[in-house]
């Protein structure tokens, strides 16, 4: 290990920050900004699922809560988005704590935990779709007010840099977490909960902390989504797509690693774009769902052949190259 553990993060973030200086096309900037939002959602999942071993199939519940809170605090209460963002993250953390308290206290794990998170996401989706306060099936529209004070940017690069700032913060946070006592406890719970308990780790408290943090980070992704698209409905905010992408990115990138979600999100979205374009060119029209078919295949291939994701594969190749050197 190098003596400056945060160096790789600084290099990666600076590299990403410089990208829009060379690439100025709208498509690229939109792609980059969206990739950062997915990275954030995935980083939230990674703390609970990657480090803590608790696989949630319903992270949409946090993403949607953040997104809706961000929109409704502005539209219904006239609160400035810069203040709404931390409030929405706190709400995401609260929802995380509540779901964690209910399910971890009942000793739900593995399939049971995956199921209960899935069900919570569905309950939230149906409620948001039916309730007048959240705009019902018509959704919520955030009024267009360009200006940094309204967190709406005419220059797409600024929106990207803002999202990148949050990604940089979570990368640093994840690295700090993985080197902390709390991180060690979390990994211990993932590897063997009984053993961790026997050694005096308070497994319930550790898992609760993880899901609360996870909820806040994924809610932040939802906030940025709201500010980017300025429109939400229940299927966008609480839909299964985001639960799936938040889970896929870390698994494809590298489960329980600092950079896994970032690498996974870029690979995943890049591949999705390529697939969509390729099929649209082949058949002369967009086909819904083809990109998700590729995601599903990728998930199975990763589980089968690359349990440590793209980063694990790269690490293996590098190791072999070094080993081959005379």
């Amino acid at each position: 290990m190098s003596r400056q553990p945060y160096m790789p993060i600084v290099l990666v973030v600076v590299g990403l920050a410089l990208l829009p200086l060379g690439l100025t096309s709208n498509t690229v900037l939109n792609f980059l900004a969206f990739a950062m939002i997915i990275t954030l959602a995935a980083q939230g999942w990674n703390i609970l699922g990657g480090y803590g071993g608790q696989f949630s199939f319903g992270h949409a519940v946090f993403f949607g809560t953040g997104a809706y809170a961000m929109a409704l605090l502005q539209v219904r209460f006239g609160i400035n988005p810069w203040l709404a963002l931390p409030l929405a993250m706190a709400l995401g953390a609260g929802v995380g704590f509540a779901i964690g308290y209910l399910s971890f206290r009942a000793r739900l794990r593995g399939s049971y935990f995956a199921l209960v998170t899935l069900a919570f996401a569905e309950v939230f989706r149906i409620s948001a779709n039916a309730w007048g306060f959240t705009g019902g099936a018509a959704g919520v529209l955030v009024p267009l007010r360009i200006g940094a004070e309204h967190m709406q940017f005419a220059d797409k690069r600024l929106a990207y840099w803002l999202a990148l700032t949050f990604v940089a913060a979570t990368l640093a946070l994840t690295l700090a977490l993985s080197r902390s006592r709390f991180g060690a406890h979390l990994v211990a719970v993932r590897e063997n909960e009984e053993a961790a308990r026997a050694l005096g780790v308070d497994a319930l408290a550790v898992k609760l902390k993880a899901i609360t943090l996870s909820g806040a980070i994924t809610a932040c992704a939802g906030c940025l989504y709201t500010q980017k698209f300025l429109y939400l409905d229940a299927n966008l905010a609480y839909g299964p797509w985001i639960s799936v992408e938040a889970l896929l990115a870390p698994i494809i990138g590298g489960l329980g690693t600092v950079f896994g979600p970032l690498v996974g999100a870029v690979v995943l979205l890049g591949l999705g774009e390529v697939t969509k374009t390729a099929f649209a060119n082949l058949t002369g029209g967009a086909i819904p769902g083809v990109d998700l078919v590729v995601f599903g295949v990728l998930l199975i291939l990763c589980v089968a052949y690359a349990p440590r994701g793209v980063l694990g594969l790269a690490h293996g190749w590098l190791g072999r190259l070094k080993g081959a050197r005379p």
Partner: protein, 290 residues
């Protein structure tokens, strides 16, 4: 008297729908009981089966009730093959991997159907689709009544298979103690795949029974699968009797809450039952252990 009639008819409808729910849950609970994992591709497989019925009807002119005899063996073979040649090798015997692989399968099936059929909702036209029989003051839909009776017949057949055949004995042995079963000469991989095949076959039957009265779109499986999960959790994971009773209860709850609170809240009622049962009695009504 009118009030009572409406109540009774909602009750009867709930019981009839509940029987099909029970059939869908049988496959899920059987797989859970033997492999101790939740098959997240269950809903997508049901959707695929419903599309198969649709194709059989529109392309080959096959009546859903006749399609049962083609699709059931076909889906058994599909389920067997997928478990033996995809899920089992891909997951390296690790439970959380199986969870992810079945999730991947469900994403693939659902979106392949979406790409192939688009998100349009379709239904099939059969001459008996709207026929009813009069029982006392109640009018019961014939296809739903057929589905009710057939679901119980299938449950009975499944129970006979498990209780009285060698394959059934092997399935129960693997469910109880797979190492012991393997040591006494049972091919565990084969039994796992057979169980998966049986689960898929139940779905093919359910699809044939549903299609005369239901509609199908690529996302329809999701609606059924959470209901099926609820039933399995309520009845106790792995319990066949639990799935039957749970299915009937959920069917009635859905029908009555739909009657009194409106459609969308009826759905929420099911999820709330689901969450409450998972939190406070994860072993379910009939389950012995978590």
């Amino acid at each position: 008297m009118l009030k009572l009639d409406i109540f009774l008819s909602a009750l009867a409808n709930g019981l009839m729908t509940g029987a099909v729910y029970a059939l869908i849950s049988l496959g899920l609970t059987l797989v859970y009981g033997v492999l101790h994992i939740i098959n997240f591709a269950h809903g997508a497989t049901l959707t695929a089966a419903m599309f198969a019925v649709l194709i059989a009807h529109t392309v080959f002119g096959l009546d859903p009730y006749l399609a049962v005899f083609v699709l059931t063996p076909l889906f058994f073979a599909l389920g067997y093959g997928v478990q033996r040649f995809v899920i089992n090798p891909a997951s390296h015997g690790n439970d959380s991997n199986i969870l992810l692989v079945t999730l991947g399968l469900s994403i693939i099936i659902e979106n392949a159907l979406l790409a192939g059929f688009r998100s349009d909702t379709r239904s099939i036209d059969v001459p008996y689709g709207f026929s009813v029989v009069e029982v006392g003051n109640l009018f019961l839909s014939v296809p739903k009544l057929v589905a009710f009776v057939a679901s119980f017949v299938v449950a009975l057949l499944l129970w006979l298979l498990l209780a009285h055949t060698d394959t059934g004995k092997a399935i129960r042995a693997v469910a109880k103690e797979k190492t012991g079963a393997a040591l006494s000469g049972v091919n565990v991989d084969h039994i796992y795949a057979v169980t998966f095949g049986l689960g898929a076959a139940c779905l093919a039957i359910a699809a044939c029974l549903l299609m005369p009265t239901f509609l199908v779109n690529p996302r329809i499986g999701n609606a059924f699968v959470l209901v099926a999960f609820t039933i399995v959790v309520l009845g106790g994971m792995g319990s066949i009797a639990g799935a039957l009773v749970g299915g009937l209860i959920i069917g009635v709850v859905e029908s009555l809450s739909g009657l009194y609170f409106g459609e969308s809240l009826g759905q929420i009622g099911i999820f709330l039952i689901f969450i409450l049962v998972l939190l406070f009695r994860p072993t379910g009504l009939f389950g012995a252990k978590a």
